[in-house]
Amino acid sequence: MNHILVIDDDVELCELLTDYLTREGLQVETAHDGERGAERALSGEHALVVLDIMLPGSSGFDVLRRIRAGSKVPVLMLTARGDDVDRIVGLEMGADDYLPKPFNPRELVARIRAIRRRVEPRLERETGPGKAAERVVVGDVQLDPGARVVLQRGHPVDLTSVEFTLLEVLLRASGQVVAREELAKEVLGRRLSPYDRSIDVHVSSLRRKLGHQLGDAERIKTVRGVGYLYAHPPDPGEEGIPKE
């Protein structure tokens, strides 16, 4: 799917973007108000939504909330430069990544591509199509990359696509530290900017959704100055399903 939806009330900018992104091989639909934007986003016809969080009347967050309530479509926020609060709130609400305005259009394309890349099964990309996606099981969590489904003690867990990829990377390296820069590259498809809290916010979401503890230990440990670590379960036989 090459369809991108851009929700921004700046009509001229949308025209320019449509022009530019089309030349980059993407198909662009635009919406200029929150109501129509949310409607279109929930249609399921798009691979990605680019949402200006600064829509008039703080409706940017309303749109994000509505989209998240009904769809897992990846959302890239356009934020105000220097506004950390909006950025973090948006990430916590389920946006995949953000880009401050004014942005470099090349950067926008790079991020769009990174997000779309992430949605495709990683192993198929790496090892070629046809190979069955290998399920990852660590402790009480079971992750299926092919179906993009996560089960915890048999019950499905609702994760956004970026949270899913983040969890996959951490689980595959369970028991070992993964550097923040590495996580950004794998999960967000880009370098971390200074004071970029994106990865930290997504880790917080994971902790909240899966639970902070795994047995007696912290599920996802913060290793100061380095990155994050998903705890190795205490005894593979004790917790849930044994590794296949």
């Binding site: 001229e12 320019l16 022009d19 430069r81 220097g82 004014p102 470099n104 259009p105 200074p194």
Partner: protein
């Protein structure tokens, strides 16, 4: 807070004690009051009893005299004296003295007065008390009998002094102080328990009152302190809307003021956000238009387009800094504050700056001697420190390192965090040093354009540091390069 509370408490206690003492002194001086009353009643009773006794005696004495004569009367009188305290000194029939047994001169006059008034009279004569009682003897004759009694203890010395309130005014009594002293002994004996009870109960009531009065003041202080720290939602509230008094009104006024401040700050922040949005929208469009042009044009246009891109970026950067400076200049006090770890902040700034510096053959190295926590705005401090570091990287010579050190200075008046950024560049001319932190000030135009400075970064630093009650100074290092020192008080 305790001082006001204690003041009220002690003043009330003092009032209680003072009024008690004053009443005591007045009572003693004027012979009014409970003590004197008590005594008067006692005297009253004694006199009544005395009168009864004398009347009885008088009746018997008159009868004996009539029947048995003077000798028998004398025997009778002696008998009375042996069995009681009463010493009968005079017996009169009408004005005729029938028996005189050593009566003092005052007795005669007293008897005359008693006969005249028709009722008992008392007087003091020297050491003893004279009591004259008129009686109706046999045959309806009027007799007066005068008896002498030893003075009851405690009565003040003095001359003739009627106790029934009639007659001459009392002569001046000797020395109030000596009387007070004498009375005080009685006072403490009789009134110590009631006084103690009064003081204790009074004390507890004062405690309650003082507490009740100072509680709303304490609440007001708390709200004011919260507001000053940046919590714009701080209010006194109506609490137990018991008070319509002045303090409650003050609290109400405070709430109005806080509301106004909150509204102003919010409006101003919104204004800055709107300005930012309005200024940056054209830039956003410009960027996309630029890339479109790049897509459509050949490589020869690349250089010019790069130039345009750079200038657009500079414009964006300038807008950002100006908005930050504006925000700090007016309304910087209201930016949210919290605990900021200097180690985390400086190490993070250093590692990012180092990354960028490496691409230009320079380096940044930070040494944080100990962890220090500052109460302030992480964002403001970050920008302030980062601007200095960026400048340092910009000016330090190729293949050199910018050193950042963070240390703690201990002093009696309070500890301070010292952040030193030292570069190995050309330094700054002495005359320019004090003006370095002014907005748009540049040491040398040409050099700054080359290195990309805008002249606002250090102004932001100065303002941000000042909002944290700190000081920033720049000096030239003896062996070349500039040292910028930021001193921040530690809460």
């Amino acid at each position: 807070m305790r001082s006001l509370f204690l003041k009220i408490f002690l003043w009330f206690w003092l009032a209680t004690i003072l009024s008690g003492l004053t009443l005591f002194v007045i009572a003693v001086a004027t012979q009014s009051g409970p003590i004197a009353e008590q005594r008067r009643r006692g005297a009253e009773q004694a006199r009544h009893l005395m009168g009864q006794t004398l009347a009885l005696y008088g009746q018997s004495a008159a009868a004996i005299l009539e029947r048995d004569g003077h000798a028998a009367l004398e025997d009778y009188a002696k008998l009375i004296e042996r069995t009681t305290d009463i010493h009968v000194v005079l017996l009169l029939r009408r004005n005729e003295i029938l028996s005189d047994r050593g009566a003092p001169p005052e007795a005669r006059t007293l008897a005359a007065r008693a006969a005249e008034h028709g009722k008992a009279e008392v007087a003091s004569a020297g050491e003893s008390l004279l009591f004259a009682q008129p009686i109706l003897g046999p045959g309806e004759t009027q007799y007066v009998v005068v008896g002498e009694m030893p003075r009851p203890p405690g009565r003040p010395r003095g001359g003739v002094q009627p106790l029934d309130g009639g007659g001459e005014p009392p002569p001046p009594t000797p020395g109030l102080p000596s009387r007070l002293f004498g009375e005080f002994a009685h006072f403490t004996r009789d009134f110590s328990v009631p006084s103690l009870v009064t003081l204790i109960i009074g004390g507890m009531v004062c405690l309650g009152l003082a507490w009740h009065l100072t509680a709303p003041i304490r609440r007001l202080r708390t709200a004011a302190q919260r507001l000053a720290r940046g919590d714009l939602t701080a209010r006194v509230g109506t609490g137990r809307s018991r008070g319509r008094d002045e303090v409650a009104a003050l609290g109400h006024d405070f709430d109005l003021m806080a509301e106004r401040i909150e509204a102003l700050v919010i409006a101003q922040q919104q204004l800055l956000r709107d300005i930012s949005h309005e200024l940056r929208s054209p830039l956003a469009r410009l960027n996309v238009a630029l890339e479109l042009t790049r897509q459509r044009s050949g490589p020869e246009a690349g250089g010019s387009l790069d130039r345009i891109e750079r200038e657009a970026e500079r414009l964006n950067d300038l807008i950002g800094r100006l908005l930050t400076l504006t925000q700090l200049e007016s309304g910087g006090e209201w930016i949210k504050r919290g605990p900021v770890s200097l180690r985390g902040l400086v190490e993070s700034i250093a590692s990012d700056a180092n990354f960028e510096a490496q691409t230009r053959n320079r380096a940044v190295h930070a040494v944080v001697e100990e962890e220090i926590t500052i109460h302030g705005s992480e964002e403001m401090l970050r920008q302030g420190i980062e601007n200095v570091v960026r400048n340092a990287v910009r000016y330090t010579a190729e293949h050199t390192q910018v050193d950042i050190t963070v240390s703690r200075r201990r002093a009696g008046s309070g500890d301070a965090a010292i952040i030193r950024i030292r570069d190995r560049g050309p330094g700054v001319p002495e005359h320019a040093l004090p003006r370095l932190f002014l907005p748009f000030y540049r040491v040398a135009d040409a050099r700054d354009r080359q290195t990309g400075g805008t002249g606002i970064g250090l102004a932001i630093t100065e303002r941000a540091v000042r909002l944290h009650d700190g000081i920033v100074t720049a000096t030239n290092a003896p062996d070349g390069g500039l040292i910028v020192e930021i001193v921040l008080p530690v809460a």
